[in-house]
Amino acid sequence: MFIILILYLVLAFALFLIPTKLSKFNSLLIALFHLCLFTFFMTHLPDVTAGKSIDISYQWIPQLGLNLVLKLDGLSIVFVLLITFIGFLVFIYANTYMKSYTGTTKFFFYLTLFSGAMLGLVLSADFIQLFMFWELTSVLSFLLISYFNENEQARKAAFQSLFVTGFGGLCLFVAIILIGSIVDSYSLTDWMEKAHIIKEDSRYLPALILVLIGIFTKSAQFPFHFWLLGAMQAPTPVSAFLHSATMVKAGIFLLARLYPVLGGTPEWTQIVPLFGALTMLTGSYLAITQIDIKLILAYTTISALGVLVLLLGMDTKQSVKAAMVFLFVHAFYKSALFMLAGFITKQTGTRSVDKIGGLIQSSPMSFVIAMIALFSMAGLPPMLGFIGKELIYEAKFDSPWLSTVLLIIGVTSNIFMVTIAFLFLFEVFLGKAKGGTKKPPGLYKYLLISPGILALLSLGFGLFPDLLTQLVGPALNIIRSDDVQIKLKLWHGLNQVFFLSVFTVIAGISLFIIIYRHQQIIKVWQRVNNRLFSINFTKVFSTGLDKFIAFSRKNTHLIQHGYNRYYIITIIAFTSILLVFQLYFTRGWEIESAFTLQPFYISGLVFIIMLSVLMSVLSKNSLFTIVAMAVTGYGISLIYLYYSAVDLAITQIIIETLMVVMFVLLLRRLPKFVKLSSRNTKIRDALIALGFGLIMTVLALKAIHVDFNPSISDYFVQNSALKAYGKNVVNVILVDFRALDTLGEITVLSIAALGVFTLLNVKKTKK
């Protein structure tokens, strides 16, 4: 299975090598690849159905406990088959869809990589590895949303989605590390074995909340749902693949994967359904008043994701079963609808419902497909959606917690779904044709192949639901880790669930008739909605971000102001404080040396140096400053001379002389000192300088009693004459014992000389 992931990578990069003439078959090639994969995984289905799981692991960094582990079990195979199959259809679809755009190789490159990353994600059985694939899908989603990158809205939407999912990804990462620190492993098997330890640990709740933030951002749950609306800026194949069938389901997958590890606790059954129900209702309610067909589908996707989260959170056998079935239901009808939306847009040149109508005349085929898909969405028999909805109702009846409330919310949301389905069907396909829709689809008829297949599946699985049992059963066993017998059927008999369904359909259709008859209602409704839900999440997000950036900029300006001397003041002040603490805590304040002026010629010399320092600092004449500086330097060299440092004295004298010569040469070309600083600044600087000087004095006094490691000096002294045949130990150290250091020093000097040479030469060539 590793080979498959590597093949994805190779294939993605190979796209760039395909000659331009053949590049129009790129998409079909990848579609074929997906079909092969689908068949390959199908051959493993019997094994997996029998309860086996195929594990492949590879040691990556065993020292850190990081391994690459792939696991094909009942749960992952469901997602793997969905990804490869829908991938197959999407690539066929994209072949026609993307024809009119340039840079399609890049597009298919991203989409192929995404497909591989998604496959890696659902196959991962190690959570660090899972996280990496998780992030990869976020990044690729960003790149795909911003595919039309000359469009500013697309760029903004892409950034927004990356920001939200990236934030969620970080939360997830922290959660993984938290749980990893409880069980000391990142492998799924260990986590499942030690699930009871994890649930009892105090880190459980924070980890759960962080995991849920990760899942909710990825699966567009309220209040993170807004990025999915922006993501509709992406080309339609991307919406059909990433933002309805696969990437947004990654959160659902993780929720199901972690169910045996984190699920079943009161926290889980309270938090998860709450957000699921909220999302379900918001999505379906807001979908009704949308005009943009892709946005309608986006809102219903959000609603469907809410349903999935709700079901997985409810923690009953029924609900998990319903979730797994609904996963297929939704993937089939929503991808089909997105692809149809792409077809409609290509055909009519608009995405606005108001401007589309009577498509049935120009393309009856698309009407049939749309009808099947929309009926599945509405949950009408004999579609698969009907079975899904029945199961959901059943699950809600059995729910131990707040079943009435959930039922009401669920039924309301489904009524809206029915209304939306009919509205969509009637507004777009029936009624009067508005604008240039008469012409037959032409080349675009190929766009109907993939949604057609999906619609057929919606119908086929609805009529023969037993086929799905094979797929759903093993997944259930993995999630619930007990044997769940499932039997799917279209006809459940006359029970309360059936009556509820009938009620839903009748209410939905009546609502539709009211809206359709009186078009102004929807306008009023839109206005009311705009008033009621005036919080525009996208706007809140972007203003929040702008404010944050402005805040950081202000702070940065405060610290990074660009004034060299304030940086220096900061450094000096901070160093002073550190030194005071260090001296105080480690050495104390007592001074061990006695004060003496003997020998007097040295103390006299010291006083002269001090005077010249003051002179140099305070003088307003630059020549005096330099002369005073020279006096200081020569004075110091005399001190060296007296205290047995002959070589130092010689060096200091030579260098001081050179420096004075240079300064004087330079001085002729420089202006006189001008008064630049105010009195207050000078006083402030003087205080800082004196404070620092005082601390350095104390440090110097303390430093006298710090012993350098004597054995080094002793070694030099004892071996200087014996081994290096030199009598001046300092010289021997420099040119013999530490000759390489001296070489480094010479190098520094050469580089400085080279720098000076270059600096002075540039001027000449410029003139």
Partner: protein, 114 residues
């Protein structure tokens, strides 16, 4: 004498810091020189000062206790030379800077392109 020399070191540091905080670049360079002198003195002092006993040896005399410690001297010698390199380079830079901008004021340096 240690106290007096330490005070001198402190004063050199104070003068160096004060000059470094000036807007004039010439003063800034002199500040660097003072600080490097001060640091040299600090290292030199830290080994303890011994008058009139340079670290000269011949085959007979091997008592390291009586002599000045050669190690800090070697370190300081390197530091003096490197400090000189830095100062020369800064002066050249300063010269070039003045030629290009005709000012000695750091605060006039607001552009990256002259």
């Amino acid at each position: 004498m240690e106290i007096l020399l330490s005070a001198l070191t402190g004063l050199l540091y104070a003068g160096g810091v004060y000059l470094i905080l000036r807007r004039s670049i010439l003063k800034f360079i002199i500040g660097i020189i003072f600080m490097s002198n001060a640091t040299n003195l600090l290292v030199f002092l830290s080994a303890g000062i011994v008058p009139g006993q340079p670290a000269f040896v011949d085959d007979t005399m091997k008592d390291a206790e009586l002599m000045a410690d050669p190690l800090p001297q070697a370190l300081v010698l390197t530091a003096i030379v490197i400090g000189f390199g830095i100062v020369v380079f800064t002066i050249a830079l300063k010269y070039k800077f003045f030629k290009t901008t005709s000012t000695d004021d750091q605060d006039q340096l607001t552009n990256t392109d002259a």
